[in-house]
Structure formats: structure tokens, C-alpha cells
């Protein structure tokens, strides 16, 4: 029994402004739940947070195996947090395999909590340990907290008469309790969570709360435990928040665009990792009239989307690398017919099947050029989990207002990563005005264009008097009929290009972060925003004059791009590929030299490595 007087409040607490914690264990150990609970609690406490899950690539790997380890990393702070973090302040390892595969991520001298009960001969073998790391001194450089979690959990639940399986399954809550204590967090949110979740299984709710508390108070009374830490609330803008991952944010951005524009949302898609969760999310929302169609393949996914666009829906298709390759021919049809569709490509490791569960940015040139003929498309990229919402919304707006396909690039890193999202309300979002015309649109036809944007009009089936045919053959600029006329083909080729180019008049300027001019400009695009931002921020805090620009609009590029480049002595382009944006910039902005920093390992950038690299360019070590 824990006596009233020993309250957390009384303990001595050290202030830190950010920590990185990783929970690892077997797929069955509930690490995702544990991590999510800690994240939510910290977020609600007022910290800024960023998380990244790490599932095994196998569906259900054997217990205790190295490749069966499931992990959840969370980065919380009183300061701005823009990545899930590199090195760990705390590793919670529920078994030997988890320890082995994650140890190298722990900062020297920092803390590791292990469940000693799981360090059995059998588990050590499965983790390919010859000797027990808890005994052979291999962990001497770390502060190891050994806890017999399983037995302590069993102990805590002995009176409830639960079956052994349920008992063992709740040991992750013991770990969570300990971490709550260490980081001076209240258990209430999690206790409420279980109370709600197991309203009809009160015994399970009780078991979980017993175990969390056991872990919490055990830490408090435990000798070996270091003093605890507290992370003050961060200074995030006031408002209502939720934790959201990139795929959910993408799906919701389309929901918002549909409601704002008054259009019906159509999704034609074929499952593929890591894009499938967008489909999973949208199939739920039939109450909003979403038509989410799982097609027989990617080609049916996009061609049905083109059909839906012809019939007037806000029509999108979602996929990943190999799927985008299959959609290339049909994207050409959308360009030629000038129908508005959005193609979302959640990038993954390539080429071919590559590293399907890992992140990469190597589909940029495919998005730009992956189809026959002169076929320009609008290409934009989201850069954080939460702003996937904004760019899905913007992609929809650009498509239906400019009548041409838009390719939206995200990647596995931001698609599965989470961060706080300040909830937006439909009323405060930009208008979306689809270019519908009908019999009353003072004799405008489907082939008439807006003088500024060059977008054609949208006459949908069911509209009397505007019957017309479109297709993949070249069409006469005025009548829209098939035309083999040489000059008309050149003119139409120019119109399609100019229409996309003029989108530059409808998008915001590129904005520099940190040094507005100076020694070094760090250039990135898409999902690497967080890492580059953190690295550049750190350097500026160290007094370097480094700026950061990040491209969300890639085709066309913002009009002020060249001006910005001209304000720095050196420019380095950082990408998770072999230099695809660099290649485009070299071709477009010849007067500037672009240094490159590239990584193709299926992993995000390490902020530490970035800083080191940038410093060498700043001639400092």
C-alpha cells in the first residue's frame, strides 16, 4: 500500500525542455498504445509533441524475434518540436530483441528501462545474444533500470482473478506508469481512457489502472530510479488541438475541400503501403457522402477517378511509387482532357518494390515527367504530418479551379508520423470555386477558357445543351473537336504548359525561415521540413547565419524563388534521394550553384548529421 504522504508533488524534479523516448517490445506488447497514451497526456499537458511508429515489416513475426520488434518513438518539449527526434533520452525495452535492435539509438549515459523477467534464456537466444547484456557489462555506458515488470504486474493483479494472458498483456501499463512518474505526468488521462474504453469490461479497466498505478508508485519508492524530470508546457498558439498523422490529415483535407466547395468526394484507389490508410480513413465517412471505391488495380483507380471528374465530382486517387508508375498513361489523359483530378503519392523506398515500409523522396522526377508526350502537371508536396491537411485542400482547389490534374506528394515518414494539429474550421478556409457552367452561363462552352488562368469550363453530364465529347486525341482549341492540324497541336501544347505555369500567379511566395540572407541557405522540399528546420534553428541559436526555404510548390515554383537564392553565399539542397530537386533547380536556375546533401537509406535525416554537414560548409567544426 502506498501511503498518502508520499505524493509525486513532494519529489525533487529536474527541469528539461525536451526529451526523446522510445517504447519497444513484441508486436503483442502494446507499444503503440503505450506510446500514444504518453503522447496524448503530454500534449494535453501542453507540450509540443511529434511521434513516429515503427512496425515490423512482417505482419505477425514470431514472439521475441529481432524482426518482430515493434516500436513507438515520441519527442516532447516545452520548446517547439518538429521531428520525432534522433537519439534517445529514454529507451523502454520490454524484451531482449527490443534492446538489441534499439540500443544504438540511446544517448551515451542515458536511461534504459528493461523488463528483467523477459530476459530468459529462450528470449536471449531469439535476440541472438550469446551472453545476457544485463550481466556482461555491455550496458555500462548507460543508466539501466532493471525492473521485474511481469512479476510485479502479476503481483498487482493477483486478486482480480484474471487469466495469465490478460495479466501479461497489461505489463506495458506498468512501464507507462513508471514513465509517467519519471516525467512528472498525471495518470488521469489514461485512467479515464480505460474507464471509457472498457465501460462494459470494468474488470479490464480496473486491471489496467491498478498496473499503471503500481508502476507509478513503484518508481517513486524505488531506490535505483534517478530523480524525475519535468517538461514545462510549450508556448503553442491558443486553441483546440488534436494529434494527427499525415495520412489522416490528407484524408480530412479532402473532406474539407468537398464540404467547402459543395462537391461530392470520389476516391478511386487500390491498396498499397504506405498510402492505404487514406483509403481506410475515407471509407469510414459515407455519412459525408464520400464515394470511396476500391478498384481492381491502380489503373482502374485513376481512370474511374477521371470518369467521376467528368461527371462533376471532386475526384481523387491515392497510391504509392509503383502505383504512380501504373497511373502515368491515365494522368496524360487527364491532362489532355483537362479534367481536374488529384493524385496523391505517398512516397516509399524504391526502385520497384524497393523498401515498401520505409520512407524516401525518390518519386519527384516521376511525378514531373512520368508519362508520354509534353504533359505538364501541377506538382505540390506536403511537409509535415499536420499540413498534409492543408495541401490536400489546396490540391483540390487548384485542380477544380485550374482544370488540370494535381499530383500531391507526401511520404511514409510524415504519413505515419503524428504531431499536434490546431483544428481548423471549415468557415475559416479559403473558398473553392469549381468552374461548372450550365445552360444559363451566357453561352459559355466547355472549351472556352478563363483569360487569366487559361482553365477551361466544366460542363457536366445532366446539363442540357452542353453535350460534348472529350478524349485523348489532340483537340481543336476553339471547337474541341479532334484535330490533326500541325499548328493547332503546337498551340494546344503551349496552352497546357502555360496553364500550369500561370498557377504561379495563384500560389504564395516562398518564405525564408531564420536568416533572411547570409552564408548558407538550406533548401528542402516535402517531408524533410522538420529535420531541416530543427538543424537550421540549432545553428542559428549557435549564431550562424543560415536560412531555410522549403518547397511545397514544385511545379510551378513560386515566383520569388530566384530572388531568395541570390541572398546567400552558399546553397545546399537536401533530399532523401540522389538529387532530384537539385537536378530541376540546376536546369532552371543556372546562375546559382547548388550543393547537395542526399541520403537514400529508407530513413529520415538525422538532425545531428545535418548540423555537422552544414557546419563543414560554414567552415567550422
Amino acid at each position: 500500500m502506498i501511503s498518502e504522504k508520499s505524493k509525486p508533488s513532494e519529489k525533487k524534479v529536474e527541469q528539461v525542455n525536451a526529451v526523446v523516448i522510445r517504447f519497444v517490445g513484441d508486436s503483442g506488447d502494446g507499444m503503440q498504445l503505450t506510446g500514444t497514451q504518453f503522447t496524448d497526456t503530454s500534449a494535453m499537458f501542453g507540450n509540443d509533441v511529434a511521434t513516429f511508429p515503427n512496425y515490423p515489416s512482417e505482419i505477425r513475426a514470431p514472439q521475441g524475434s529481432l524482426y518482430g520488434v515493434s516500436g513507438f518513438q515520441v519527442h516532447i518539449g516545452s520548446i517547439e518540436i518538429s521531428t520525432p527526434g534522433d537519439d534517445l533520452d529514454l529507451l523502454v525495452a520490454m524484451n531482449p530483441a527490443g534492446l538489441k535492435t534499439n540500443l544504438k539509438a540511446v544517448k551515451a549515459g542515458h536511461t534504459i528501462i528493461v523488463d528483467t523477467d523477459s530476459f530468459t534464456k529462450k528470449n536471449l537466444q531469439k535476440a541472438e545474444y550469446e551472453t545476457n547484456p544485463l550481466e556482461d557489462g555491455s550496458l555500462d555506458n548507460y543508466r539501466v533500470i532493471e525492473v521485474a515488470m511481469t512479476s510485479l504486474t502479476r503481483e498487482a493483479l493477483k486478486d482480480l482473478g484474471l487469466d495469465n494472458k490478460s495479466i501479461v498483456r497489461s505489463k506495458n501499463m506498468f512501464a507507462l506508469g513508471m514513465v509517467y512518474w519519471m516525467y512528472d505526468r498525471s495518470m488521469n488521462h489514461t485512467l479515464d481512457f480505460f474507464a471509457k474504453k472498457f465501460k462494459f469490461k470494468p474488470i479490464i479497466a480496473e486491471a489496467n489502472s491498478k498496473v499503471i498505478k503500481a508502476g507509478y508508485y513503484y518508481s517513486e519508492t524505488l531506490e535505483l530510479i534517478p530523480n524525475s524530470y519535468s517538461i514545462a508546457p510549450s508556448t503553442m498558439p491558443k486553441g483546440t488541438y488534436r494529434i494527427i498523422n499525415g495520412n489522416t490529415a490528407t484524408a480530412w483535407g479532402f473532406l474539407a475541400a468537398a464540404e467547402k466547395s459543395g462537391m461530392e468526394l470520389y476516391l478511386g484507389s487500390y491498396p498499397i503501403t504506405p498510402a492505404t490508410d487514406i483509403l481506410h480513413e475515407l471509407v469510414k465517412h459515407k455519412h459525408f457522402g464520400v464515394k470511396a471505391f476500391q478498384a481492381e488495380d491502380e489503373i482502374a483507380g485513376i481512370t474511374s477517378t477521371i470518369g467521376a471528374a467528368f461527371a462533376g465530382d471532386l475526384a481523387i486517387t491515392t497510391t504509392s511509387g509503383p502505383g504512380l508508375a501504373l497511373k502515368g498513361e491515365a494522368i496524360g489523359l487527364a491532362i489532355m482532357t483537362e479534367l481536374p483530378i488529384v493524385i496523391v503519392n505517398v512516397q516509399r523506398g524504391g526502385p520497384s518494390t524497393g523498401l515498401p515500409t520505409k520512407t524516401e523522396q525518390s518519386d519527384l522526377l516521376q511525378a514531373m515527367y512520368g508519362r508520354n508526350g509534353e504533359s505538364p502537371a501541377i506538382v505540390i508536396a506536403a511537409s509535415t504530418p499536420a499540413n498534409c491537411f492543408d495541401y490536400a485542400f489546396i490540391a483540390s482547389k487548384l485542380a477544380v479551379e485550374h482544370m488540370t490534374p494535381v499530383i500531391l506528394l507526401t511520404d511514409g515518414y510524415i504519413a505515419n508520423g503524428s504531431e499536434p494539429w490546431k483544428i481548423k474550421s471549415i468557415d475559416n478556409m479559403e473558398e473553392i470555386k469549381p468552374r461548372y457552367i450550365d445552360e444559363n452561363s451566357d453561352d459559355l462552352g466547355p472549351f472556352d477558357r478563363d483569360n487569366d488562368s487559361l482553365a477551361r469550363n466544366w460542363a457536366i453530364p445532366g446539363t442540357p445543351g452542353l453535350e460534348h465529347r472529350i478524349g485523348g486525341l489532340e483537340k481543336n482549341k476553339v471547337t474541341g473537336n479532334v484535330s490533326h492540324d500541325p499548328l493547332n497541336h503546337e498551340i494546344m501544347t503551349d496552352v497546357r504548359a502555360e496553364k500550369v505555369k500561370r498557377v504561379e500567379n495563384y500560389i504564395p511566395d516562398l518564405t525564408t525561415e531564420f536568416a533572411e540572407e547570409g552564408d548558407l541557405l538550406v533548401v528542402g522540399w516535402g517531408g524533410t521540413y522538420g529535420s531541416l528546420h530543427s538543424a537550421v534553428r540549432a545553428l542559428n541559436e549557435e549564431g550562424f547565419k543560415v536560412g531555410h526555404v522549403h518547397f511545397n510548390y514544385i511545379n510551378p515554383m513560386p515566383k520569388n524563388t530566384a530572388d531568395i537564392f541570390s541572398k546567400y553565399k552558399k546553397i545546399i539542397v537536401c533530399e532523401l534521394n540522389k538529387g532530384q530537386l537539385s537536378f530541376i533547380l540546376n536546369g532552371k536556375y543556372k546562375q546559382h550553384d547548388f550543393l547537395q546533401y542526399n541520403k537514400v537509406q529508407g530513413l529520415p535525416f538525422s538532425v545531428t548529421d545535418l548540423k555537422a554537414k552544414f557546419k563543414t560548409l560554414l567552415k567550422v567544426n
Binding site: 488534436r242 481492381e296 461527371a311
Partner: protein, 337 residues
């Protein structure tokens, strides 16, 4: 639709201003004329009609009908059409496609749209050749057929469109000769009435690259003796003298002559296009003598779009979400003050 009385249209109303550019003598002209005749007989508004095609001579069809239309990319007509229908189920959606467009590159969409049973009409121009690309063998070309890509004769055993369709669970299958506009016109009207995917195979003669491929069935001189045009509920009788008919012989069909060996009209099988069990339809499709035309199978079942929209209604009625704001504020949210 329904309540508003639909204006009476004529042939001309559906005729587009585009010059028709098929080879002189091509059956495609017959199909076009039959369609332009049929459309006014249907209970549909002109602006609700959509023709969708892939690529091929047959796929030029939409240009010649004054309605909404997409001349798509090769093989994808059925998939494009599925999107159109799901976006607006009130539309009357027609797919015009060829044996290559639908069964070579488009084979996958072809079988899947039949499986899902969207309410649309697929007109398959089966000329057993790739016409537009100037004469290569197709998945329906016969063994031994000499074409530009099989100069020594085709060695790929062909599909039977109807057989593949039944295998893909087609609910409506009809077959008609390319030289019988009257029957064709009626077929189009009946196909439109059918709720679900209707597949109409047209034995279309390509005068340039596969001329005469169907003469032994469709030639006026032999037609009546070689073709059995089935009608639901009618005995399966054919022949110039209307004295030949089909009877069951084990699990095969046999041709008998009324009046011979004591066979009377009563012995002849009655055609049941509406029977769920497709065994007889399967047999009729595979028959070579006589070649069976008309509506062989026509069995309605809930359409895919009905399933889609009924489920949506049900979900909506059980859901507390009315606007996306409700969704955004559901579940784990918190305040930063």
C-alpha cells in the same frame, strides 16, 4: 428523372455534327444507325446520356452521338464508365468497345465491372481483329486466322465473350449479328431497361481486315438456318421452315427437326433468360450450330451503385457526423490556453 415527362427525341437529335470516318461498308455504321434509332425510344433525357470508349475503330463511336462522351485510353472504358456512374447514378451510361479494347488490354476491367454489376450497357464490337492498328489478331480471333501479326495463322485459342462474361458472373448477355439493325435497335432499348450491367456482343464485320468472318452465320441466305434468335418464354425454334429446334441430350443441346422421329413443337426447349441458374445460358452461348442470338441471359440483381448508396444512407442515419467540423472535434482533442 421519372416524374418529368421526357421530350420525344428523333434520330437527328442524337446525331452529332462530326463526319463519320469508318471504312465504307463497315458494320459500325449499322451499329451507329441502330443506336441513333434506339436512343429516342428510351426513357432518357439527351443530357443524361454518356458514351464512353477506349481506343479502336469501335471506340470512335462517342464522337458520332450528340450526347456527353469520353474517348478514353485503350482498354479502360469500363473503368472510366464506373466512375461516371458512381459520380451520378442518374446517367444512362454506355460503353462502346472492341474485342481488343475490352478483352485484350481491357480484360481486367471487363470482368470486374460485370462482377460488380453497375447499371450500364456495354456494346462489344467483336470483329475478331484489331481494326484501328490495321489488322493484328485479337483474343477472339480464330485458331489459324492469318493476320498481320499471325502471317502463318493464329495459334492463340480464342475467348468466347459470352463464356468469359458468365464466368465473371454477368447478369445480362445478348448477341446479335452486325447486319440486323432492327433486332439490334430493339436489343439496345431492352439493354437500357435492364438494371445492371448489360453486355451486348455484336458480330461485327470488318470489311478491310477480317471480311466475311461471320458470313456463315449472318449471310442473308443462311441466316435463318444457322442462327437461333431466342426470346424469353418462347420455344427455341429456328430454320427457314421454322422446323428445327433444341432439345436437351444429357448435358448438351441437340438440334432436332419438328415432324421427324415424332418430335413435336412441345418437345422443344422453352428459353428462360431470367433463370438464375446459368447452366443453360452457358450451353446456349457455346453452341455453334445453331449460333444463338438475342437475349440469352437477363437476370436482375441489386446493382453495385444501389448497394453503394443504400449503405451510405444507412451509415448516415446511424452517424452523429453532419459536418466535417463534427469529425474534427470528435475523439481525443484538447485545449491549449
Amino acid at each position: 428523372m421519372g416524374e418529368v415527362a421526357i421530350k420525344k427525341y428523333t434520330f437527328k437529335d442524337f446525331q452529332s455534327d462530326q463526319e463519320v470516318r469508318w471504312c465504307p461498308g463497315c458494320d459500325d455504321y449499322v451499329i451507329l444507325r441502330s443506336m441513333l434509332k434506339a436512343l429516342p425510344e428510351m426513357e432518357v433525357k439527351k443530357e443524361d446520356v454518356v458514351f464512353i470508349s477506349g481506343i479502336g475503330c469501335s471506340s470512335r463511336f462517342p464522337y458520332y452521338v450528340d450526347s456527353y462522351g469520353i474517348h478514353g485510353i485503350h482498354g479502360r472504358a469500363a473503368a472510366i464508365a464506373s466512375g461516371v456512374k458512381l459520380a451520378n447514378p442518374n446517367l444512362s451510361v454506355w460503353v462502346t468497345t472492341g474485342d481488343g479494347d475490352a478483352m485484350a488490354i481491357g480484360g481486367n476491367h471487363f470482368i470486374h465491372v460485370l462482377r460488380r454489376n453497375l447499371d450500364m450497357n456495354i456494346v462489344l464490337f467483336n470483329n475478331e481483329i484489331y481494326g484501328l492498328t490495321k489488322g493484328q489478331f485479337s483474343p477472339t480471333s480464330l485458331l489459324g486466322q492469318k493476320t498481320k501479326s499471325s502471317p502463318y495463322g493464329n495459334i492463340q485459342p480464342p475467348f468466347q465473350p459470352g463464356e468469359l462474361a458468365i464466368g465473371a458472373r454477368a447478369r445480362f448477355f445478348a448477341r446479335i449479328g452486325g447486319n440486323t439493325p432492327k433486332e439490334m435497335t430493339q436489343l439496345f432499348v431492352q439493354a437500357e431497361k435492364f438494371k445492371g450491367t448489360s453486355l451486348i456482343e455484336i458480330l461485327q464485320n470488318c470489311v478491310i481486315f477480317n471480311d466475311g468472318c461471320y458470313t456463315k452465320y449472318t449471310d442473308k441466305a443462311v441466316k435463318d438456318d444457322q442462327q437461333l434468335h431466342v426470346e424469353h418464354g418462347e420455344p427455341m425454334i429456328f430454320g427457314k421452315e421454322k422446323n428445327k429446334g433444341l432439345v436437351l441430350d444429357g448435358l448438351s443441346l441437340k438440334v432436332v427437326t419438328i415432324g421427324e422421329e415424332g418430335i413435336t413443337k412441345e418437345d422443344i426447349l422453352i428459353h428462360d433468360a431470367k433463370c438464375e441458374n446459368d447452366v443453360m445460358h452457358h450451353m446456349l452461348i457455346k453452341l455453334n450450330y445453331p449460333l444463338v442470338t438475342g437475349i440469352i441471359r437477363s437476370v436482375e440483381e441489386k446493382t453495385f451503385e444501389d448497394r453503394v448508396f443504400e449503405l451510405a444512407e444507412e451509415v448516415k442515419s446511424n452517424s452523429k457526423f453532419r459536418k466535417v467540423d463534427d469529425l474534427f472535434h470528435s475523439g481525443e482533442i484538447y485545449e491549449v490556453k
